[in-house]
């Protein structure tokens, strides 16, 4: 198994980021609303306070006996209405406090016109917002400066701002809480295309090397592009490998054929015994090398195909019978009778036809090769506890005590086969195919002489 190193989860990262953003937004919302509400409430309160102060200032009238002051009940009543705030006032005429709280702080700069000047200042046990309005009044001696101060605590304003801010806070909290499932959902939907792409790629069989055409968001286009590039390179490499194996075979076999055929002709035409001996050994050499080449290439093919196995239903019966037919002439040459027993009904296993054929070919080839003349090679097809068994039995020389473990090693041959050309890869191939397809291979010496090779594959 290849290890996939996961460095954190993108989804978790995205969710956390979304939540952090949501939290920041919620906090921002809270403070924005708070300060805005505070300012709005202050502006409103200032407007009312200013209007009240101006109204009081305008009700001051000059007269013969001095200035006439008339505080309107309604004005005061109204000022207290908003937040039930405490109220302080002071009226200075000609620089002298005539009524109200004579210690109420005056503004640093005397207001210029009838427009109110606002300031916040500590007074008594609290802080007050004061509106100051200045005007002059004509009394008998001439103009007299008048200063009207109306101060107000701002608990009401603070309460309104608090209330609004708290509501904003609640909304912010609600927003955040809503953001939790939403960001989970959104992270999910963001990663859905990736998951779907991964599924689509994962569903492909080992031989599916078509470019990925799965619809995906544009952000994934570079990934898909890179993936397709990789697939293309892989496809190129694989087809080169396959082509290479085929080419290699061709380039080895063609000259060997020539040598062999020439040697055979020479052998037919020569009568010189020494030459004939040489030619025979030459032919044997060619035979051995071509066999080795074949099996090496078969072995390479087996390894290559086992690595990217794609299970399909394979009819063992049909393969076995056509193989037996192909081996017919070979067996005939050695006067070996090749028999196939069992029903012709399909016996299906899950696997790879080429791998299975390769294994059976080696089994049958061995059986014929090591059979004595005028004997039988019996191929039996049977089902056995959920497995399909192909048994190839010969009446040959047996194994002389060697076990499968020794014989299935690469380039390992039995101790009693020195006179027969072979590569030592045949049983290796069979064993490897059996393992790749989830089956097993058995090789036993028969009591009556000869060997039985059995390939077990899981029945479909």
């Amino acid at each position: 198994m290849r290890a996939v190193f996961a460095t954190g989860s993108l989804r978790a990262r995205l969710v956390v980021q979304l939540l952090v953003v949501a939290a920041v937004l919620a906090v921002l919302l809270y403070f924005t609303v708070r300060s805005t509400a505070d300012r709005a409430a202050e502006a409103t309160q200032d407007a009312i306070l200013g209007a009240a102060t101006v109204s009081i200032a305008e009700q001051l009238r000059g007269g013969d006996g001095g200035v006439e002051v008339d505080l309107a009940y309604a004005t005061f009543s109204m000022l207290g209405a908003v937040g039930q705030d405490r109220l302080f006032y002071r009226i200075d005429i000609g620089g002298e406090t005539v009524t109200g709280y004579d210690d109420l702080p005056v503004p640093d700069v005397r207001p210029a016109s009838l427009a109110a000047v606002f300031y916040t200042t500590p007074y008594l046990d609290t802080r007050v917002r004061i509106a100051a309005v200045a005007r002059s009044i004509i009394v008998d001696k001439g103009p007299v400066p008048v200063l009207v101060l109306v101060g107000q605590t701002r608990q009401g304003q603070a309460a309104i701002a608090d209330q609004l801010a708290n509501r904003a806070g609640l909304i912010g909290l609600g927003f955040f809480l809503l953001a939790v499932p939403l960001s989970l959902l959104s992270a999910g939907s963001v990663f859905n295309p990736i998951n779907r792409l991964a599924e689509a790629v994962g569903r492909r069989g080992p031989r599916d090397l078509r470019p990925v055409r799965h619809p995906a968001p544009s952000e994934l286009a570079p990934l898909i592009g890179a993936l397709n590039g990789f697939v293309a390179r892989l496809r190129g490499t694989l087809s080169q490998t396959e082509t290479f194996i085929a080419e290699a075979a061709h380039h080895i076999r063609t000259p060997l054929s020539t040598v062999r055929s020439e040697a055979e002709i020479a052998l037919r035409q020569s009568t010189d015994e020494r030459t004939r001996v040489r030619l025979r050994s030459m032919i044997r050499g060619v035979e051995a090398s071509s066999r080795s080449a074949s099996q090496l290439l078969d072995h390479a093919m087996v390894l290559y195909r086992s690595d990217q196995l794609e299970g399909v239903a394979v009819d063992l019966c049909q393969i076995t019978r056509s193989l037996a037919r192909a081996f017919g002439p070979t067996a005939e040459l050695r006067e070996v009778t090749l028999l196939v027993e069992g029903d012709a009904a399909p016996l299906c296993v899950l696997g790879d036809a080429l791998l299975i054929e390769s294994a059976l070919r080696n089994m049958v080839d061995n059986a014929i090769k090591y059979s004595a003349v005028e004997t039988e090679v019996r191929i039996v097809l049977a089902t056995d506890a959920g497995m399909v068994r192909v048994e190839v039995c010969d009446q040959g020389r047996g194994l002389s005590g060697a076990g499968l473990t020794e014989l299935s090693g690469r380039f390992t041959r039995g101790g009693n086969v020195g006179d027969v050309v072979g590569s030592g890869l045949g049983l290796t191939i069979v064993t490897e195919v059996a393992a790749a397809l989830g089956g097993r291979f058995e090789l036993v010496e028969r009591d009556t002489g000869g060997t039985c090779a059995s390939l077990f594959l899981p029945q479909l």
Partner: protein
């Protein structure tokens, strides 16, 4: 040009290719027994194969390319085509498929150097009758040719007469006075070798080389066993296998 549609004269032959409906009496010794088309781009390989077939008395036309092969097929009829796969001007399998689509059913044995299992399957799917992997034992090629022709029984049949017996290599029988006798494989091949050059002495070694695979070791008296068996099959005929002391065996009585 390495190849061409030149018919090579048989080095030695006593068989005539005949259709099933042909009159047996028209066959005479010295005619080409089977006519092959060898499609193979490598001259080095084509030459020995052609020579070996010719040694057995067959006629062989050699084509180095598919277009030459097409020319040959247009000009003559063949009993069997030996077809290579990788050819300079195309793939033998496609050529074969095209032939089969056109309804040409001349038996084809593909000679492949590729040997991969997938190639074998492909070859049979393309319409070949059999395949043989290079390099091949010539005896095996003969066996496969025989098997193919036997399977295609109706398409070509060769019966050879020698003296008072009739020999059918495809059915592996000798007929003496209407008595049909089956030959086993090695008896058949031994008889074929001897019949290929009647009167000629074949040494034990020569016969061994032809009869047994080079990959196996054979005991010295193995040939004597088969000669003995074949003699029994020929009992009642004028034809008989003579032992030439110290030299070998020869077929007489033709």
């Amino acid at each position: 040009m390495l190849g061409g549609c030149d018919v090579i004269a048989p080095l030695a032959s006593a068989t005539i290719p005949v259709k099933a409906d042909m009159n047996l009496s028209r066959r005479r010794v010295g005619e080409v027994s089977l006519r092959f088309l060898l499609v193979e781009d490598s001259a080095e390989l084509a030459r020995p194969v052609r020579d070996l077939l010719a040694l057995d008395g067959h006629g062989v036309d050699w084509a180095a390319t598919l277009s030459e092969a097409q020319d040959c097929l247009n000009a003559a009829r063949y009993d069997l085509i030996l077809l290579d796969i990788m050819l300079p001007d195309g793939d033998g399998r496609q050529f074969l498929q095209a032939q089969r689509r056109l309804g040409h059913d001349t038996p084809v044995i593909v000679m492949t150097a590729r040997a991969a299992v997938s190639d074998r399957v492909d070859v049979l799917d393309s319409g070949a009758d059999d395949y043989i992997t290079k390099p091949f034992d010539f005896a095996e090629l003969e066996a496969r040719v025989r098997a193919v022709l036997r399977r295609r029984g109706g398409a070509a049949q060769t019966v050879r007469r020698y003296g008072d017996l009739l020999f059918n290599p495809l059915t592996a029988t000798v007929t003496i006075d209407s008595d049909v006798r089956d030959l086993r494989n090695r008896e058949l091949r031994l008889f074929e070798i001897l019949l290929g050059a009647p009167g000629q002495i074949f040494s034990k070694d020569q016969l061994c080389d032809r009869l047994f695979s080079y990959a196996e070791t054979v005991s010295d008296n193995a040939i004597e066993v088969y000669v003995g068996r074949l003699r029994k099959k020929l009992v009642g005929s004028l034809a008989r296998i003579e032992t030439v002391r110290g030299l070998g065996y020869r077929l007489t009585g033709g």
